[in-house]
Amino acid sequence: MSWVVRLATSAALALILTGCGRSAGPAQHAGQLTVGFAQVGSESGWRSAETRMAQDAAKQRGVILKVADGQQRQENEIKAIRSFIAQRVDAIFLAPVVSTGWDEVLGEAREAKIPVILLDRPIETKDAGLYLSAVAADNTLEGRVAGEWLVGRLGGKACPVVELQGTVGSTLVANRKKGFQEAIAKAANIRIVRTQSGEFTRAKGKEVMEGFIKAIGGANICAVYAHNDDMMLGAIQAMKEAGLKPGKDILTVSIDGVPDIFQAMAAGEANATVELAPDMGARALDVLAAYRKTGQAPKFVQTPSRLFLPDTAAAEYARRKGLY
């Protein structure tokens, strides 16, 4: 066994050495762009889809994309960025796992004149010049789209809503909550009667929904708003087990657009989802291409937050099944 390992290691070493020898200039083939992507990890289906779609988009554009899996740790992402700088890539994409502590390593990238594009999450820094552009969704808008759908759907009917929040303390949760509240603020018929954290997971979503049904009675809940689809999928099971019909007795609206929620919508057990578009890699590549041509880039590229309803659910499920 060990000789296999040794052989593989020496082969890899040889590759690296010859690679280094050749690349006195930037590490790339003639005319081909190399981009390093420091990804958070693969902690959710959405995250895997984002990585996969970035790889596909790079292949289509003839760009070499090197993905580094940070395994949800900042130090791994910082290490990945340093190694990208050492390899003298043409650009770095960063999906930051946390919002602070990036100034030093991004400063190093700037000294090496490598543009950095942020994906999906913002960072906190006093020096906005540390990154070229940020591609992300507006999480407040997502909540607002969900709320506006509910307002329109009800048409003035009185409606007590229960809310399944994500993990307490994140900006994402605060914004998705705020957006929804803004949307229903004008509608006197809608009020949130219970709110509890389902920690973004199916199991907790189910447990919390079970509790809501027991605590205030299924007949007294008119709609559920969940900060992500997975919690809603758990809640749908809790409703079914309590003899309620999700999608009919209790309306559902959630955020993300993962395949399973489309399956639930196609089966008539869910009503609406707001998509968090996972094609951020492609948008970042477009920003990079435009920047290299014109020398200019928008500071913020907002991805659309589209509402999906049951009518297209079956087709959307078929389209997404392989991606996530």
């Binding site: 307490v168 997971t201 199991a203 309590a242």
Partner: protein, 337 residues
Amino acid sequence: MTDLLGWRSRLPRGGPQLAALALALAANAVVSPDFFHLLLRDGRLFGSPVDILNRGAPTVLLGVGMALVIATRGIDLSVGSVMAIAGAVAAAGVAHGLPWGVSIALALGAGVACGLWNGLLVAIMGIQPIVATLVLMVAGRGVAQLITSGRILTFDEPHLLWIGGGAIAGLPVAVVVALAAAALVLLMVRRTALALFIEAVGVNPQASRLAGVPSRAVLVYVYLVSGLLAATAGVLAAADIRAADANNAGLWLELDAILAVVLGGGSLYGGRFSLGLTVVGALTLQTLKTCILRAGFPPEFNLIAMAGVVAVVLVIQSPAVGALGGRLVPRLREVRL
């Protein structure tokens, strides 16, 4: 052995634990007045107490395994990750068209393998339990993610769905499985000399080995049982949500299991354990969680409320308070559960 300090005999054994559970239940009854209301529908009991048993089932299973491990002065941090692995194996099995029985057997087998790995590291290699099981705690979740390729694997195999939503004699399958497993382990250790061996190894490994106790075999055995029980919990958790969620299944549940053992009066220094009271501890924990969820507080208070209540329960069980209670009620003798 149970009475080295001389304080424990003054209060009935299990008294504080049962009192804590009763208090937790009473708090629930205050929060939701129809808490004890049970209802039979489609041959299955519905009601909050049933929910608590159902939600508490994984913690009960993990707690029983953890009680044995802790009694040998060890600890098994890997149980949450083992749950994730077992759920992933079961889901991947049915997704690849294996029969449900084979998938579950493979999942439980994976748990046994994990337990064996921990046991060998601790008993044969002599690595400290907290370090040895940390390896699998961290790496195990990665293994589970590898099996599901980072996705949440949803399944609709009818037998697995029955485990998640079906009933045996009116009770959810998970409850029956957890209580049966706990009873089985109880019989196994208390009807043989095993419990004595486990306690002996926990109190003094060297002395017990010199006295002829096969301490290495005992150590491997407790980690193996813990792995098997964790895998069982993993299958139940996956069946409950009809999916294997490698990232979140059993996350931090090892801490709940340790807490259940401690609430059940187990000593982290080994040598003293009670499976019955560990089950009571696990159910107390779940009852408190349910109470907090039902009370309708803002979610920011969940963890604070939980920490506060647990601290109070532990203080009530502490030797200092026990001695105080003993002085007030001097003539109560030890009652073994």
